[in-house]
């Protein structure tokens, strides 16, 4: 296994890079290479950020976006993983449904935006729907692939030691696919976070995506950049949270070799 844990100086490296980027930004805006109307300075952005925090708008937007992502992504996980399990265990159903699922997986969820608005109007519902459409199909496919990859010897052993059907599922299939499913949950959550911003720009009346669009309409480039930074940071935090799942001792085997 390759566990080269970064030394303390290595840990500082990302912050050094961030600092350099910030310095370049400061320098460029200080030299007025571009007009401030299209290239806000870090100070303007910081002021805009403080303003958004003080009025509470930022907090409301973050909550709105997180609520939609967790709802849509959560629904996709609780339905997509069981569907993937079922398809993984039924060869005929798999060959029947897999092309359709692949079709929807390849279809950008943003293509659904018009229908989402027609069917669900404006607000939480269309966004949740779009996030669901973005997450469900990749999760199904990843689960199907994970089930197909389980070495048959595990089922043989389980049979030898008298496992019943429920135990086969709970104590063989699920733990055997867990590492792959966790990986695809991380990837899909990232996708969902991308989609929420785009969806809210068009079908939202709140949320970080709407905030971006609103800032653009108001020509508030400072707020736009502050929104972008918040979106990026939350994306990283979401992935970090899901990454904690990979630290469960009984799934480490899937990552350590």
């Amino acid at each position: 296994m390759t566990s080269n844990s970064p030394s303390s100086t290595d840990r500082l490296l990302p912050f050094v890079v961030l600092l350099v980027v910030l310095l370049i930004w400061i320098l460029v805006s200080f030299l007025h290479l571009f007009p401030t109307s299209v290239f806000p300075s870090p100070l303007d952005v910081a002021k805009g950020f403080v303003e958004e925090v003080r009025t509470g708008i930022l907090f409301d937007d973050v909550i709105a976006s997180l609520f939609r992502v967790t709802t849509g992504f959560g629904l996709a996980a609780v339905t997509g993983i069981p569907v993937g399990l079922w398809l993984g265990n039924h060869a005929r159903a798999r060959s029947a449904f897999l092309p359709l699922i692949n079709f929807f997986r390849s279809l950008s969820p943003l293509a659904w935006i018009p229908f989402a608005i027609l069917w669900f109007g404006i607000g939480d519902l269309p966004t949740v729907f779009l996030i669901f459409m973005a997450s469900f199909f990749p999760l199904v496919l990843a689960t199907v692939a994970a089930v197909a990859n389980i070495p048959s010897v595990y089922f043989r052993v389980a049979r030898d030691y008298g496992f019943n059907g429920t135990e086969m599922l709970m104590r063989v299939t699920l733990p055997a696919i867990a590492p792959q499913v966790i990986t695809s949950l991380r990837v899909t959550a990232g996708l969902a976070w991308l989609v929420v911003v785009a969806a809210e720009m068009i079908a939202g009346r709140a949320g970080l995506g709407f905030a971006i669009w609103d800032a653009r309409n108001g020509l508030r480039m400072d707020l736009l950049v502050s929104g972008m930074i918040v979106i990026g940071i939350i994306g990283i935090v979401l992935d970090r949270i899901l990454m904690q799942l990979t630290k469960i001792p009984s799934v480490r085997w899937g990552y350590d070799r």
């Binding site: 070495p151 595990y154 043989r156 085997w253």
Partner: protein, 251 residues
């Protein structure tokens, strides 16, 4: 229980038009260690699958009595379970948890992996993993052990060590053993009786008895002579004058 816990009676097996076994008869006595060698693809593993009742014969019958456990060729430990949990699979029929604990600890001590009880298989070496596989099959008063090339994935030295380990474990916990292997040294070093199978459709070409207590050294003349005889039977070596130890007798 009978004294012949495993018996094949004129057993034939065919997959479609491919005949794998043709009227194979074999009786294995309680506590006997039988090794099965033969050309690759001749159906050695299939024989174990028949003995474990995983496959049904096309004709003839198979009688096996007692608790049958199989040790597989490839990594068959559950990677999501610790060493203790994996071994405890073999104790599922034991109701009393205190008794389970006692047997588990005894087994961990026997395979010298007490300090690895809470490790996961991927944290162990190949040799350690194979010891855990053996432990899982041995624990909980199993009767018959079916070993499907259990050491084939190990390096040469580890393989030799594991043979001694298996001999030691069987000394403590005697079992009826059928070992399928392509490693003729392994067969000669471990088995009481070695069965040489022919090419497909497999039948028993010949049998060798090895009457020497375990553990046997690899370079023991009896082992060396047995290896030579098996290789001669398989047409790889010629029977020379050195192959005449009194302890080895073809039957």
């Amino acid at each position: 229980m009978t004294d012949n816990p495993l018996r094949l009676d004129k057993t034939s097996l065919a997959f479609g038009s491919v005949e794998v076994f043709q009227e194979v008869s074999l009786t294995i006595q309680r506590g006997e260690f039988v090794a099965v060698v033969g050309p690759s693809g001749c159906g050695k593993t299939t024989l174990l699958n028949l003995l474990s009742q995983f496959l049904k014969p096309t004709s003839g019958q198979i009688i096996s009595t007692g608790r049958v456990r199989m040790v597989y060729q490839h990594d068959s430990l559950f990677p999501w379970q610790t060493v203790s949990e994996n071994i405890s699979l073999g104790l599922r029929h034991v109701r009393d948890t205190a008794e389970q604990k006692r047997q588990l600890n005894e087994m961990l001590k026997l395979i010298n992996l007490e300090s690895f009880a809470n490790h996961y298989p991927h944290q162990l070496s190949g040799g350690m993993r194979q010891r855990v596989e053996l432990a899982r099959a041995l624990i909980g008063d199993s009767d018959i052990l079916l070993l499907d090339e259990p050491f084939s994935s190990l390096d040469y030295l580890t393989r030799i060590r594991l043979r001694n380990e298996l001999a030691r474990m069987l000394d403590k916990l005697p079992r009826t053993v059928v070992l399928v292997t392509h490693d003729i040294e392994e067969a000669a070093q471990l088995a009481d009786r070695i069965i040489v199978l022919s090419d497909r459709p497999a039948r028993i070409c010949s049998e060798f008895q090895v009457e020497l207590a375990r553990p046997r050294e690899l370079t023991n003349p009896v082992v060396v002579t047995t290896v030579h005889k098996i290789l001669a039977e398989l047409g790889i070596e010629r029977l020379g004058p050195q192959a005449s130890s009194p302890a080895v007798a073809a039957t």
